[in-house]
Symmetry: C2
C-alpha cells in the first residue's frame, strides 16, 4: 500500500461540538483502482478532489455502491468497529447486482484499519461521538455506451459525527411513489436508490413529515423500510419487522436488534407487516412504538405516522424498546458492556 | 458564455471509419454550474477530466440524469438536430423526479449550438454518420448525507458515431428481474436505471441473448421496453407498442414512429402488450416483426425472442416496417426528405 501523508492536518480547524453530519472529512482517504481485470496497488492520500473523465460511467449509468459504518472510541482510547465484516459482505453483494467486481477482504480491512490509525485523532471518545466511515465504489471507465464499466475506483472517506439528533420524527406511509421493484435493486446500497427518494420525500416534507416509510410498489399494503433505516413496530410487547427481500436492505442494525430482542426474551415476528394492521393497532391502543434503525442514527423513535390524509400519534413509552435497544447497542459499540455475539472488532 | 478553445485539435488522431460508439469525444465540452440557487455563467472548455470531491452526492446518492441526441450533416454541409426541444423538456422532467433544478431553455440551446459550431468538423456527412450528443447533469455538492444536493453541474459532451450495427439481435423477455417500479423513476433518464440492468443483461447474454425486453415488475405479463429502446410489435399489419407510464421512457424515436405510421395509414395500437398474445401471434404466424427504437441505434429489428426457456424466431420480411421507418426517419434527419411535422432543427 502506498501512503502519502498530509503536510498539514486540518483537525485544528474543526469544531467537534458543532458537526453537520457527513460534511467534514478527515485528513486522509483510501482508494484502490480496478483495471485490466484486477484491483491495483491500494493508496492512502490526503483527502481532496479526484480527477475523473466527464464520460465516466458512474455519471451516466449510475454504477455506484456504498456502505456506511462507524468507528467508536472507548474511554481507554481504543477504537472499535461494529460488525465490519457485514459491511464488507454487503458492499460486494451490492456490487454484484450492479455488475461490479467484488473488493477483496484483505484490501478492505487493511485499507480501513490503516486509514483509521492514521486519522485516529479524528475519532473522539464520549457518548454519541463516532467516526462515520463511507466505503464506496464508482465506475470510472470513460465512454457513453450503456454497458458495465471495466474500470472502477474503491474509496473510503471518513467524517467525524456527533450523536444524531433528528428532532421529533413524523413519517408518512407511501401510497403513490415507491422505492424498489420486485426483481430490482432495492436490497443493494446502490446510489440510484437514494436519488429516487428525494422528490417524494420533499413532497412529504411539505406536508409536515420528515420521512417516508416505503410500502410495496404493487399494492402499497405492506410496510417495508424508510430511506436509510429499517423499521420496527411494537404491538403489545411483540416486535414486528418486515422480512428482507430483493426490495429491502438487510440492515446490520436491524439484524442486531432482532438478536438483542431474542436475547431479552422478546417475541420478534419477522413477517410482512400490513398497513391496515398498524392502523388498526393504533386505533385499538395496542400499537406502542414504531422506530427506525440504521447505522447513522442508531435508533429513531417515530412520534406519529400519516396514512391516507390521517395522522396517528404514537403514545409516549415509559420503558420503550427503542430506548432500551439503543442503549444496549451503544454499550456494545463503545465497549461498555460484554459482547456475547462477538460484534465488536478492535482496530489495532 | 466563457469560451476557452483548445490549443491543438485532436481530430487528426481520429479514424472516423473505425469508431467505437461513445468512446471518442470532440475537442470541447460545455458546462454550467448551479449554486446558491442559480445557474452560473456557462462555459465551453477543452474536453478533459473534471475535478470533483469524492463525497459529491452523485457518487453516493445517484443524483444524475442524461439525454441522448444526434446532429446530422447534410450533403450541402448544414447541420441538423432532430426534435431537440423534446430532449430539453425530458431532461428537465428527469431532473424534477430526482429533485434537481431545471436547466433553462436558452442556456441549453445556446450551449449546444455554440459547441456544435466550434466542433463542426467532427460532424461528418454521409449516411449513418452523426455526432452523438450527451447532455447530462450531476450533483456536485460534497457531503455524505442522503438529501438533495444544492450544487449541480450541467454538461454537454459529444462523440462522433457511425451507423450503429448491432449484429443480429435476440432478446429475452424478462421473467424475474425488473427495470422499474410503479411510482418509481423508470420514465426518467436517471443514471441508476441503467446500472441496475447490467447484471440481468449479463445473465441473458450468457444464454445467448443480446438484450432484455423488460416486463412489468408486478406480473411479468406485459412487455414494456428494452434497455435503451422502446419496443414495437407488428401483428398482421398493425403496429403495437406499450403506452408510456411512470415506468417507461417516453422516447422521441417511439413517438416519431407512431406519427410516421399514422401518416402512412398504418394502424397503431398504443396499449398494454401481453407477453401471451405475442407468443400466440408468433405461433399462429401473425407476428411479423419486433423492433427496438431509440436515438443511438434508430431502429433495431429483432431476430428472435426468448420466453420461458423457449425461443421464437421472427420471420424475414420483404417490406418490413422496421426498414421502412428507419429510412423515413433518416431521410428527415439528413435533410433528404420533406419534414411535414417540423422535426428538423438547423444549427446556425
Ligand atoms: C435503505 C436503507 N435501509 C436500511 C439501512 C440501515 O442499515 P444499517 O443498519 O446496516 O446501517 C440503510 C443504511 O445503511 C439504508 O440505506
Ligand atoms: C430506457 C430507454 N428507453 C427508450 C429510449 C429511446 O428514447 P429516444 O428515442 O428518445 O432516444 C432510451 C434512449 O434514449 C432509453 O434510455
Amino acid at each position: 500500500m502506498n501512503i502519502t501523508k498530509t503536510e498539514k492536518s486540518r483537525i485544528e480547524e474543526v469544531d467537534f461540538n458543532n458537526l453537520t453530519f457527513g460534511s467534514v472529512f478527515t485528513d486522509h482517504m483510501f482508494f484502490c483502482d480496478y483495471k485490466n481485470g484486477a484491483w491495483q496497488e491500494p493508496q492512502i492520500v490526503p483527502y481532496g478532489p479526484i480527477s475523473i473523465d466527464p464520460s465516466a460511467k458512474v455519471f451516466h449509468y449510475g454504477q455506484a455502491v456504498f456502505e456506511g459504518m462507524k468507528a467508536f472510541k472507548d474511554d481507554a482510547g481504543s477504537t472499535w468497529l461494529f460488525r465490519p465484516e457485514e459491511n464488507w459482505e454487503r458492499i460486494n453483494k451490492s456490487s454484484e447486482r450492479l455488475a461490479m467486481p467484488a473488493f477483496p477482504k484483505e484490501f478492505f480491512f487493511k485499507g480501513l484499519e490503516t486509514l483509521l490509525n492514521l486519522d485516529n485523532d479524528w475519532i473522539k471518545a464520549g457518548d454519541g461521538n463516532a467516526l462515520y466511515i463511507r466505503p464506496f465504489v464508482i465506475a470510472t471507465q470513460p465512454g457513453v455506451s450503456a454497458s458495465p464499466s471495466d474500470q472502477y475506483r474503491f474509496m473510503i472517506i471518513c467524517a467525524p459525527a456527533q450523536a444524531y439528533y433528528s428532532g421529533e420524527v413524523s413519517v408518512l406511509f407511501a401510497e403513490k411513489y415507491s422505492r424498489a421493484a420486485d426483481g430490482g435493486v432495492g436490497f443493494a446500497k446502490a446510489a440510484g436508490n437514494y436519488a429516487s427518494q428525494f422528490y417524494p420525500t420533499n413532497l412529504a416534507k411539505e406536508r409536515g413529515y420528515q420521512q417516508i416509510v416505503w410500502t410495496d410498489a404493487n399494492s402499497h399494503e405492506y410496510l417495508e423500510e424508510a430511506g436509510t433505516m429499517n423499521v420496527f413496530f411494537r404491538i403489545g410487547d411483540t416486535l414486528l419487522t418486515a422480512p428482507t427481500s430483493d426490495r429491502i436492505l438487510d440492515g446490520v442494525t436491524r439484524k442486531s436488534i432482532i438478536q438483542l430482542a431474542k436475547d431479552a426474551g422478546i417475541t420478534v415476528d419477522v413477517r410482512p407487516v400490513k398497513v391496515s394492521e398498524i392502523v388498526a393497532a393504533s386505533k385499538s391502543g395496542e400499537l406502542k412504538e414504531i422506530f427506525g434503525a440504521g447505522t447513522a442514527a442508531v435508533i429513531v423513535p417515530f412520534k406519529s405516522f400519516g396514512h391516507q390524509e390521517k395522522d396517528y400519534e404514537l403514545p409516549a413509552q415509559e420503558d420503550s424498546y427503542a430506548a432500551r435497544f439503543k442503549k444496549a447497542l451503544k454499550d456494545i459499540q463503545y465497549n461498555r458492556a460484554t459482547d456475547p455475539h462477538g460484534w465488536r472488532y478492535e482496530v489495532k
